[in-house]
């Protein structure tokens, strides 16, 4: 299983975000345990990946079995490995620490909240781990869209501020999109 760590790191949170969303409709009490389990697996595989990186220097994972110029590949080096561990562990601790206040604030929409939170972490992990510029744009959009959803739940001026953030985020992502063109000439 250890050769699949880069994929597991992103896929497990994604699949469990879907499960959390389904659990939000069917049985709300399951949301939190699934979220904790997902981030635990992500943290575990990020630590495992860090050890592999320490051995092999650069870990390359070809998604779909296509080699990089034609397909998408994940590449992890020392810095990426370290950032992955930090992001996933902090996200896990944050999730556990805020359990009570989240349940008080979003008692009705707890499934949606945890779905967005886990997808946000997925986006961040993906941004760190990916080795493809256009893939980075898509993951950036995931992180920012879920971010808009989470930020706008705040007090009175939150929606307007989020809307302004959305305009700027979109301009930035669009220019990033063009940068991806120059980076890898459509690779």
């Amino acid at each position: 299983m250890s050769q699949h760590y880069p994929a597991l790191l992103v896929i497990v949170p994604l699949l469990s975000a879907l499960l959390i969303s389904a659990a939000g409709w069917l049985n709300k009490r399951l949301c939190f345990p699934i979220a904790v389990a997902a981030l635990s697996v992500a943290s575990f595989s990020s630590v495992g990946l860090l050890f592999r990186v320490l051995d092999e220097k650069v870990v390359l994972y070809k998604l779909g079995g296509w080699s990089p110029p034609w397909g998408i590949a994940y590449s992890v080096d020392y810095l990426n490995g370290l950032v992955l561990v930090v992001v996933s562990v902090v996200a896990l601790l944050n999730l556990i620490a805020t359990q009570r206040s989240v349940e008080q604030e979003f008692s009705e929409k707890i499934g949606a909240f945890y779905t967005l939170y886990i997808l946000f972490v997925t986006g961040l992990l993906g941004i760190v781990v990916t080795g493809d510029a256009f893939n980075l744009y898509v993951l950036l959009e995931i992180a920012s869209l879920t971010g808009y959803g989470l930020i706008a739940m705040g007090e009175d001026r939150a929606p307007l501020a989020t809307l302004n953030y959305l305009y700027m985020g979109t301009i930035g992502a669009s220019f990033g999109d063009r940068v991806s063109l120059y980076c890898n000439r459509f690779a």
Binding site: I11, L18, Y61, G64, K109, L116, N135, G149, F186
Partner: protein, 275 residues
């Protein structure tokens, strides 16, 4: 403010116009973008994936991982709209009913209501009262054909323009047409909120689950060749079938999300009165 904005816009526009000098001229077959990797796609996609539509092959196979996250983006948007707008507790509001046989409209104030099962009265929106037989009948005839076309677009994405996104959006649009031509309550009675939410999840799950199945079968994530033993075909054919499975998942997710966003936006989260 406007003058500053104009200055910024003209300045950056001028810089970009200056940069166009270095661009290859339009429709130049030898432009750098067309020389690097696209020849490989055009020459190899048929023998590697057996899909004639190169766009579908690249979208769902070579760059299938992008497409999976793209479906996730759509799903995120649906959940975010739900999170931002949905109001579950209703404040009592005025309601309008129409007596079906005579067409008399009655207005009930302050949360009173006639039971929904009543055969004599039907509930109407406060802002849209006229009863239009022509629109309702035409839409009722049209919707099944739109849905059939959507299924064709999803299924025929390998050989012609189309695929999961377009088909899913068209299917979603047919339900939105029902909501516009009749009213939101009839549409949500056909597609309940819970069903829509679960379909959204199912669509993305089909995509990500197919990828995870490939991983469990021992190859890399989203390597559809790994499905060959399950489908009893050779690996190249399995890629083509894998693309079809994935497109169906995308179609379901996109359809459900479009309906979900429309329901939330058009009723401002109350699921009561739509457009």
């Amino acid at each position: 403010m406007k003058i500053i904005a104009l200055a910024i816009v003209i300045l950056s526009g001028g810089l970009l116009l200056y940069a166009t000098q270095d661009f290859p001229s339009w429709a130049d077959p030898a432009s750098p973008a067309s020389m690097h990797v696209s020849p490989h796609y055009l020459q190899k996609s048929m023998e590697e994936t057996s899909v004639p539509n190169v766009v579908t092959a690249v979208l769902a196979d070579y760059r299938g991982f992008d497409t999976m996250f793209e479906t996730t983006v759509i799903f995120c948007a649906g959940v975010a709209c739900f999170m931002l707008l949905r109001i579950s507790r209703q404040t009592p509001e005025d309601r309008y009913y129409r007596h079906i046989s005579t067409g008399v409209t009655i207005h009930i104030k302050g949360g009173g209501k006639i039971p929904d099962k009543s055969k004599e009265f039907e509930r109407i929106d406060t802002m849209w009262t006229p009863f239009d037989l022509v629109i309702k009948t035409v839409c009722r005839f049209l919707i099944p054909f739109i849905q059939l076309f959507a299924l064709y677009v999803i299924a025929h994405g390998h050989h012609s323009p189309g695929g999961g996104f377009q088909g899913g959006v068209i299917f979603g649009a047919s339900i939105i047409l029902l909501a516009i031509s009749h009213n939101l309550r009839i549409a949500t009675k056909r597609m309940r909120e819970k069903l829509v939410g679960l379909l959204c999840v199912t669509g993305v799950f089909i995509y990500a689950g197919t990828g995870a199945l490939c991983l469990l079968m021992g190859l890399n994530f989203l390597d559809y060749g790994a499905l060959a033993p399950l489908l009893h075909v050779d690996p190249v054919e399995a890629r083509s079938l894998g693309i079809l499975i994935v497109e169906v998942g995308v179609g379901i997710a996109v359809m459900a999300t479009m309906i979900w966003i429309y329901n939330n936006v058009s009723s401002a989260g109350k699921y009561d009165e739509g457009l």
